[in-house]
Amino acid sequence: MSGTRVIDEASPLTQPSPPRGRGQGEGAGPYSLPGDHGLHRQLEKTWSPATGPLRWFMQIDHHVIGKRFIITAFIWFALGGVLAALMRIQLSRPGNTFLSADLYNQIFTMHGTTMMFLFAVPVMEAVAIYMIPLLVGSRALAFPRLTAFSYYMFLFGGIMLYTAFFLNIGPDAGWFSYVPLASPEFAPGKRVDIWSQLVNFTEISAIAVAIELIVTILKQRTPGMSVNRMPLYVWSMLVTAFMIIFAMPAVMVGSLYLLLDRLVGTHLFNVAEGGDPLLWQHLFWFFGHPEVYIIFIPALGMVSSIITTFCRRPVFGYTAMVLSQVATGFIGFGLWVHHMFTTGLPQSGESFFTAASMMIAIPSGIQIFCWIATIWMGRPVYKPPLMFVLGFVAIFVLGGLSGVMVASIPIDLQVHDTFFVVAHLHYVLIGGAVFPLLGALYYWFPKITGRLMNDRAGHVSFWLIFIGFNLTFFPMHKLGLIGMPRRVYTYLSETGWGQLNLLATIGSVVLALGFLTYFINALVCAKRGEFAGANPWDGPTLEWATDSPPPHYNFIHMPVVSSTEPLWHAPEHAPLVTGLSTTAKEVLITRTFDAEPDHRYTYPAPSAWPFLTALATAGIFLGLLFTPWAFVIGLPIASLMAVGWFWPTTPQKEGDAPQDSATASEAVA
């Protein structure tokens, strides 16, 4: 990062952007060569998405699937939000009969399950599905058909859960459904089975996306982007993907054990026959705590991207930031027992976990200090994405501190399973993940839709969300301390919790208004927002080098990168990669550490097989709830679908037609 970067006042960020036509087709950005127009038309044809009546089911392009993923995740978020509003109405005053006890138990379980399994993890992966190929300068996400498969598994899981909920079979044992309340004797019917199957759906979807992200980040970076030049967001997604790989199996085994206990009569959690309910808690929380970091670490990456662009300088301490992300990932696996401090485990074991739980505050602290240092040295531009990041810092630091409090055993004995923990988890999840997500969506909205979101509405929505959030969740700290337990459908007036709950309900109305403003702003501006060119914010990373919305093949020529902020360091002199076939969907595979070009790989054509495989797998999962024979019948069908998916269709043509060789694009600058 040599030389001083002069903040030119004329940068498009600080001025209102001049009106521009709808994305200029072949992209006259810094990485183009004269004569690219012919290539663009050819590539557009080769990489064109599926056509024909069944095209909706055949799409495998990471832009199409990424956008669908984000929209579906936000639909679940809206539904989860409505459920939260219902809960807040029920708790607004003592002895309220708005919701019955049974319905309230279903609603708070659905709220938790939707937010954790159907929104938080998938939406962070959805944004990565869309943005990672652009950020690493690749033409596509690895294993595109697997992307389609993971989207459909996620979609079918959500549909199953909400159909069950509307049929009064919504799970009602909490989002972590402790045994023996979730075991067959105390949870009759199919409610908890639906919960366990949903966990299977979403974890297969999450693992599939994690595999793609790891392979894309490690093997498809543009030449020159060695590991120490990867943008921080790409680092955060790599760490998250590895955490998913090692965390999800624990809940996979856990939900399998729960299903076996409930359907086949095994005794894994039955104390009388040698089982142990704490085995469930260990298995679940070994996954549970890394999962909240799987939700949080992508947000760290998003904050770094936003701060880099809106403070007009690279983030301070790149290596410290990367090491902090990796450290958070590792330590995240070592502190799951802090969810079980009140279960009477041996004291010495528990204090180890207190130390680990406090230690994880250090990497987060380092990141906060580095961001503040970046703001100190940079020149902040107060656009909504930066506002959301500042909201993030204000709220997450408070959430982190209440986390340190909850890490101490004596204090946790008082506040565990109370509204203090409800406040803490919302501060670190909404504050820590949703705020950066809203900022990042605002920041990448022009890249995804080609149009800018309205700034005024952005600021209004930020302040509504910020004030509404604090009004709702700050009183809950006090509620927890004055004795209000979690998951109570009502409470008596003599407990004195009425006023604070009413205040929280009012706050939740403001919060809901804020989210509504943000979503209306997004929906309206998607169609009628101001046109955004390739780089409306003068951003430094590669996604701003191509059109908005980017063509299906992302880059005609992959640039050779020489820094973490390629677009800020004379991009027009960067050497370009040529020679990738234009008639086959070819992607450049580069070496893992120094991103040297290694070989070319052709990606498959769009196909409906992933959809059918997902349908068959969903059929097996649903059938398994009713009879074990569903596996015996379902496995052959699913295998056939998978064979169809894997089977090569057209014979590979040797030697393509007009090779995009260097001579053809000999150009005089």
Partner: protein
């Protein structure tokens, strides 16, 4: 599209019924117990023998409550866990006093010779209907997805879900 809605409606009915949490005795149950009869002889013209399902026959919560009451009201004392002891086994296809829900109801409320006590006034009626549903599930006569799973104590027999549906034996000629 209409067909899908019809299927969905049917699905709603069955699953709603299974997952319903009926905490209170519904008026329907109160009316039921007035209708059980012991003999087929009837004064006056022929009155049809109305086939009724117990209110909890398809209800998972009702059956699991029946299972709890089966041990709380000490039915296990004589019937063990369905295998029989002092009292007759309840898991086979042989029904001495009839396998219809209202006949089981009458057995519990009226009592039977050779040791079955009468629980009239001792067990509230909706709980008797829950016991009826559970007794039916002991010989697999309730839908599999509503029947109970394993219990939280020693494994004494197969879980109700795995008990095959035993067709009740045709009752031998009417007792003289």
């Amino acid at each position: 599209m209409k067909r899908v809605l019809v299927v969905l409606a049917a699905l709603t009915l069955i699953s709603c019924e299974r997952e319903e949490r009926k905490f209170r005795q519904t008026p329907a149950e109160a009316a039921l117990q007035k209708r059980e009869r012991l003999v087929s002889l009837v004064a006056g013209p022929y009155t049809p023998d109305v086939k009724i399902d117990g209110p909890y026959a398809y209800n998972a919560h009702g059956i699991s409550e029946g299972k709890r009451l089966f041990s709380w009201y000490n039915c296990v004392g004589c019937h063990a866990n369905g295998g029989g002891g002092m009292g007759p086994p309840l898991m086979d296809e042989r029904w001495i006093y009839g396998s219809d829900p209202e006949q089981i109801f009458a057995t519990i409320v009226e009592g039977r010779p050779n040791g079955m006590p009468s629980f009239r006034g001792k067990i509230p009626d909706h709980q008797v209907w829950q016991l009826v549903a559970y007794v039916q599930s002991l010989s697999g006569n309730v839908p599999k997805d509503a029947a109970g799973g394993r219990q939280e104590n020693m494994q004494v027999r197969k879980q109700e879900q795995s008990i095959p549906d035993l067709e009740p034996e045709k009752a031998p000629a009417e007792h003289p």
